[in-house]
Point group: C2
Chain length 125, copies 2
Amino acid sequence: MPRAATTTDVFNAIAEPRRREIIGVLGDGRAHAVGQVVKTLRIPQPAVSKHLGVLRKVGIVSISKHGQRRLYRLNAEELKPVHDWVKTYERFWTHQLHRIKERAERKAIERLARKSRLAKDEPNN
Amino acid sequence: MPRAATTTDVFNAIAEPRRREIIGVLGDGRAHAVGQVVKTLRIPQPAVSKHLGVLRKVGIVSISKHGQRRLYRLNAEELKPVHDWVKTYERFWTHQLHRIKERAERKAIERLARKSRLAKDEPNN
DNA sequence: TTGACATATACCCATATGGGAATATATAAT
DNA sequence: ATTATATATTCCCATATGGGTATATGTCAA
């Protein structure tokens, strides 16, 4: 099986650095025309259109026509799942003290666990 | 050019749902043997080993040998870049009021911008 | 109508992928 | 030494990719 499509979910969509850059440009909350993004990021127009297409399929951006331009607007709420997911691990890098404490606890638990888990009467597989 | 390798950076590594699940299992901060992850997630062992390999190359997990097992431990700090990046957009979904206010401002600004930007003397491309 | 501008699409291509199955490697147990 | 256990590695394969270039589509201007 190949890798999941970039349009599968937000996680896949934002894996592309250039797509994150584009999101960054749209990050001011305003609508931007494709040409603006092209000029700002200096990425070939077809590439920008394609990336915006991916972001659109996932729902991260939405279009509106204005004359011959297509204005893309960020739908930042779609990024919330990523935020929620990674937030779970926030505690690991905030609060030095808390981290050190956790590390100590972890090790203590492991010392005990190892003794019982590695005993021959409790195989792992 | 093909898609960037999954081992390129954290964003690519966590694009895989199963890798996120594995991270979830290791999320208790303790070290887990491959077999434990296999049993918990019911994913074929070779798959687990491969995914752990990816996570390891990116630095999200680290190994330690204990007998015939390899114990994998989460290096959650490596997820911080993702957190930092997505945190930038947090304001878009927190605080209903703030969001509504922003939306209003945005629209007002756009109304003005459109008038001048779309005027023929200011082309976009 | 004709031409300029803005954006999207269609092709072509090299490449990394994740899954499955089989097998290799390493360590422990008997 | 032989066997069992735990994990990694190797192959094979179908497929989505992102870049580049060229072109189609759509809209405005003269």
